[in-house]
Amino acid sequence: MIKLTECAPAMQKLATAWSCSSFGLRVGRHGNWRRGLKSCRMLSSSTATASADATEDQVLRKRKFAPHQAADLSENLAGQLPGQARVVICGGGITGASVAYHLGLQGWGKDTLLIEQDRVGGELPWSACGLAGRFEPSYTELKLAEYSIDLIKQLTERGLPTGWRQVGSLNLARNFDRMTAFNRMKSQAVAWGMNCEILSPEQCKEHCPLISLDGIEGGLWIPEDGVCDPHLVCHAFMEEARRLGVRVVEHCAIKKIHSSRGKVDRVETTAGDVNCEYFVNCTGFWAREVGTLSKPVVKVPLKAVEHHYLHTKAIENLDPNTPFVRDFDSRIFFRECEGHILAGGFEREAKMVYEDGVIPLSQAARQHPPDWDHFHELLDALLRSVPPFRKAHLDRLTNSLQVFSPDCKWILGEAPEIQNYYVAAGNKTMGVSASGGIGRVLTDLITNGSTYLDLHILDISRFLGLHNNRKFLRDRCKEAPGKHFEINYPFEEFQTGRNLRMSPLYPALKAGGAVFGQSMGYERPNYYDQNDKKDEFGLPRFRIAQTRTFGKPPWFDHVASEYRACRERIGIADYSSFTKYDFWSKGNEVVDLLQYLCSNDVDVAVGSIIHTGMQNPNGGYENDCSLARLSERHYMMIAPTIQQTRSMCWIRKHMPAHLRAKVNVADVTSMYTAICILGPYSRILLSELTDTDLTPKNFPFFTYKELDVGLADGIRVLNITHTGELGYVLYIPNDYALHVYTRLHQAGQKFNIQHAGYYATRALRIEKFYAFWGQDLDTFTTPLECGRAWRVKLNKPIDFIGRSALLKQREEGVKRMYVQLLLNDHDHEVDMWCWGGEPIYRDGVYVGMTTTTGYGYTFEKQVCLGFVRNFDAEGRELPVTNDYVLSGHYEVEVAGVRFEAKVNLHSPNLPTKFPDREREAYHATRDKRDQEDLLSFSSNLITTNNNTGMTRQ
């Protein structure tokens, strides 16, 4: 308030004198008077350097993984620690113990060392629920869990204390979709060899009389599931491991993991150095931090969240054989445990702890006070679901940590950054169910280089650097735990950590109505919806694709219209997320390398495109890619989006030593934007924007050219679409991307060009019987099994990886075959849809599973792609022949209902108003090698490329 009025100028005069003489007051250390602030800051800055060092020291000390007990023990330990071990396992939790045990079983016990910063198994039991269950969303996870359970049973039979009791697990459904999910599970269970049963609400009550049937629609009963004490299981593993010769050193922390020539070489611990060949990071909560102890940093994207377990006091007359009950829709579970109830749940939004990532080392320090307000929702759900618990007395609510990965799946496998560095982490709350299987597969990988299951969905190479960003993890891992109990809908998307990786076209596509899905962080339009695409300010809205049903999806009509545009007019799609690598060398080394890695012959005329697999020694697909020969010694590789980290890893690992220094491999994914134009008018459209002659004679199908488009130059154009439609994929340097897109879109208006999303291109390729890596093809599928034998050149003059396995398979015949099934009598409006993973029956006998499925808009039928096998009466696998496949009567079981199906062995020719000779001739999936002769363009290619002096081999 202004209280003085008149003498203002006089005051001003004085005030000037004032400020010069620093105002009659001296500023002390923490001056909070504004006038004091500046000088105070200056003052403290002089001492800042000293204090900053101190704080940095403190942070470093926290991160250095000093053993939390008795530093003086380290000296005593020095004698215990061997200077040499083949495998060093870091982390004495249940996973580490299991890995140690399995290595022991393989006879590596004497060469294995396990170090633990605290004590093996931790001090406090019951910071987990101890469910040994197999209700997992994928075949791989289910098989790993199943193995773990069998192993626990085995240990129990051998007299080791594990707390194992086979009480069965009861899974409750409160809505129709959950029931459908159970029915799908039941259908799959037959195929996966799992025993389970669908229950009516009354039957649920018979299994567990405690529950209230209010709102229960039914249940799924898994009789062979059980409960155990994770603490005891961990000690059992460890005891067995010790018996098999594994050395275990407690109170010894890891300080550094050294590598040389990209391989693990030596680890530094608080008790001394150990030379080793393999390092296994099983450090649970700290796996991400331990990842930072090597150079380069191994990225283990994990985030700890709070997780509560409720223990009641002993309850009288509680049946010790109460099953493990999971009420998914209420987000809660409970079990009987030593005469009382142990309950917990997965809240919708998890609570973060240790956001800086520094987690205390001692278990006591990690015990947080329980947050009752946070647990309230779950407690109420529990009491609603099981009314008798209202009267139960509280013993304790514990708040322990659990770690989650950004996609809520386990993380295992060899680190992409350092060879022989293995990681097994992110076991969520399912450590017991996971550990046995994980121990086995990791041991297989270490001792054999391969294992009995396809692990790509759990492999650590599914991540990019962005997934390891602390802030990304903080956002995403709030959501991830909740997903654990949510219905596993098809194409489920995360809501957090979005708008992270976007092509330059993103704003234009968003304005065009795109609804996005995320793949490797990339926002990829899944479909386009013109309704409600703007927010209240008239700006384009960011929308996330949702399916949220097992029946006809809400996007059906949008995709139908995009599909028709691609088939009849012209569609424009964003392929930017695809993995793009450049390979080049000075001499011919790049050809040598690719000939060694790829099963197809890559030494083709410059300008050709080759589809090829990169096989593993067993002939399975490690990668399925397209190679464009840009120049004699320069190739560009296009691979599925999810291969971005993985294929680099594979290539590095299998690069022959003599080529290592000479071939350059660069990941250029983020440098190019990929636009695909597809449909009958795509050639006319592109020729309007470029001077180059695009007639098939000059620019045939399956070739590459560098073109000028619009006003831009240097655009890599591939005359393929990965969908079976005529069209081009343009790989455009990012800075030209919007220009080229705008030109294409403008010029395309007269053809009524339409945006096409991922779902539309997927529908196209499924109908055309195109296999995709990661969905149809995996590390256990060979080209011979999926109708791609014609892409394998067994006679090329190099012993490429997997050649001998493929030769052998050619002699013996394949045990499974890739087929296309068209469902008859399936009403897409009312019946449940196929979403992959449906069992296939041949003459009433289970023969295999579908992989990818979709609606064929031309066939107007559900189209399933999948593999069929041939089992004899004893369950042995016999070779599968074309006659066998074609002679059967097929059915596909969708959520408990079987539909009759017609089988195809090769890509069909779809009726079209725009016949195209080349395209008709090309069949992605074929049963006969001689069909290759139908590729009439190959002769054209030689003539057009004569001037380069290249001839085909």
Partner: protein
């Protein structure tokens, strides 16, 4: 004179059309919108909390300050009295015409009082100690980060020593008289220093002014000495109705206070009736009717002509300045004996009272005490408890969670309410507008706000009053007894 016009306009705007102007301001698109994070940073910049380590009548105090002037013209000081167990003194000082007087008084007044309220015997003993004693010997300040510069310090120290010598000679009086005397003696020192020392800074202090509200507490005896228009209000919980009752512990000395106006008119000749107070101001210039400093309204015409006008020019003389002094620093002192129901005391500068009434303030702080319990994690009582009971308790808490305050600090809570309260709760954009107003107009909309909230320890008060009863279940849950 256009300055008068402007000031009248300012008064008019601040008094009557704040709401209207705020609406008009919303139409100005150029004001940046602050994020809630930024708002918190600004509001919490000057927060301070002190919890008394020893069992005493005062449990803790919370204080905060939000400046409008630059530099902020408000000051605050809190200190424990030495040699007096449980003695506490704190004050709020609202300066005007510059921050100088407020800052100087805020430090020195507490020192004067710490000496004045000591028994003479103790004072004498301390004086006889080798090395004697300094102005800071009798108190311990809690949030004190600054000190006077070296040139000024000896001048002030000299005045203090003179004051103590006078004190020792004087007989011991009651606290109220000692407080009054300390106020006047300090004001006298300011005058003498300005007139006798050569340092221009002392003159600057004397020409700027400050109002003060000072709380002195010893045992159950609470004294509030106030000069000017700061305010102190006591929050009492009525144990029967569980309602918060505000009790004002001072009278503001401004034109709204009829007694005060009468006093001033009676002290000057009848002929000056129309000029002494004009436009709601003393000599049509000064809003508070009592203040420290402001010697342009106290010194004789002679001093003004000889020492002031040469420095500041002829217009430094207030209009119609005939029979000085017009202004005094003499405080009004109210005494209150604490009872069990007294839970807290709020003292604040007029920046707060412009927005909130004493009863608003008491109910806001009262609610804040209750809801602060929700900020703490729930503790399950010992012994058997069923899950159902827990669930019910959690549901109750959950109902309270919606009222969970954003601020831990009650002073910040009050500032947030002062700036952001609307009929439908706290409006972030309103606070943001108040905080982003341009420097040259911000004073029209809000003054500096300084608040100190002192929490009393009811159990200790009860013990002292010898009427301690352990709380029974039938008694309503008293917020501070938990």
């Amino acid at each position: 004179m256009w300055k008068f016009l402007i000031n009248d306009a300012v008064a008019y705007v601040r008094g009557n059309v704040r709401d209207f102007s705020l609406n008009a301001l919303r139409l100005l698109p150029q004001l940046p919108q602050l994020s809630p994070y930024d708002v918190n940073l600004v509001l919490r910049e000057n927060e301070f909390v002190y919890n008394f380590p020893l069992e005493g009548v005062i449990r803790s105090y919370e204080t905060n300050q939000l400046g409008s002037n630059s530099p902020c013209e408000d000051s605050r000081t809190e200190a424990s009295l030495l040699y007096r167990p449980n003695g506490f003194v704190c004050g709020i000082f609202d300066g005007h015409g510059g921050a100088a007087c407020g800052q100087v008084v805020s430090k020195r007044l507490l020192r004067y009082i710490s000496a004045a309220t000591l028994p003479r015997q103790v004072l004498r003993e301390q004086m006889e100690q080798p090395g004697g004693c300094t102005s800071q010997s009798f108190l311990k300040c809690h949030n004190d980060n600054v000190d006077f510069v070296n040139e000024i310090k000896p001048i002030y120290e000299h005045s203090f020593q003179k004051y103590i010598k006078e004190l020792i000679e004087m007989p011991e009086r009651d606290v109220a008289s000692e407080l009054k005397d300390a106020f006047l003696k300090l004001d006298e020192s300011l005058s003498n220093e300005a007139l006798t020392s050569n340092d221009p800074r002392t003159m600057n202090v004397a020409l700027s002014g400050a109002v003060a509200c000072l709380v002195h507490l010893e045992g159950l005896q609470l004294h509030v000495a106030s000069t000017g228009d700061c305010g102190a209000v006591l929050g009492t919980l009525d144990p029967k109705t569980n309602q918060w009752i505000p009790k004002k512990l001072n009278q503001e000395h401004n034109v709204d206070n009829m007694q005060e106006v009468k006093r001033i008119l009676s002290e000057h000749p009848k002929g000056e009736r129309d000029t002494v107070i004009r436009n709601g101001r003393l000599l049509s210039q000064l809003a508070p009717l009592r203040a420290f400093g402001d010697f342009r309204y106290k010194w004789s015409l002679d001093i003004m002509k000889k020492q002031v006008l040469p420095l500041v020019g002829d217009h430094g003389m207030p209009p119609h300045y005939y029979t000085p002094p017009y202004l005094t620093a003499q405080p009004e002192v109210q005494h209150h004996e604490l009872s069990v129901g007294d839970k807290f005391l709020v003292i604040a500068s007029d920046g707060l009272w412009d927005f909130l009434s004493p009863s608003d303030v008491v109910s806001l702080v009262g609610e804040h005490i209750n809801s602060k319990k929700i900020l703490e994690p729930m503790r399950i009582p010992e012994g058997d408890i069923t899950l159902n009971q827990i669930s019910e308790q959690l549901a109750e808490r959950k109902a309270g969670l919606t009222r969970k305050p954003v601020d831990q600090n009650a002073a910040t809570h009050l500032i947030r309410h002062a700036l952001g309260a609307t009929d439908y709760g706290i409006e972030h954009s309103k606070i943001s507008y108040y905080l982003t107003l341009p420097k040259d107009v911000v004073r029209l909309y809000r003054d500096d706000i300084t608040i100190t909230v002192i929490y009393f320890n009811s159990e200790h008060i009860a013990e002292l009053r010898n009427e301690y009863h352990p709380p029974t279940l039938s008694e309503p849950d008293s917020p501070l007894a938990a």
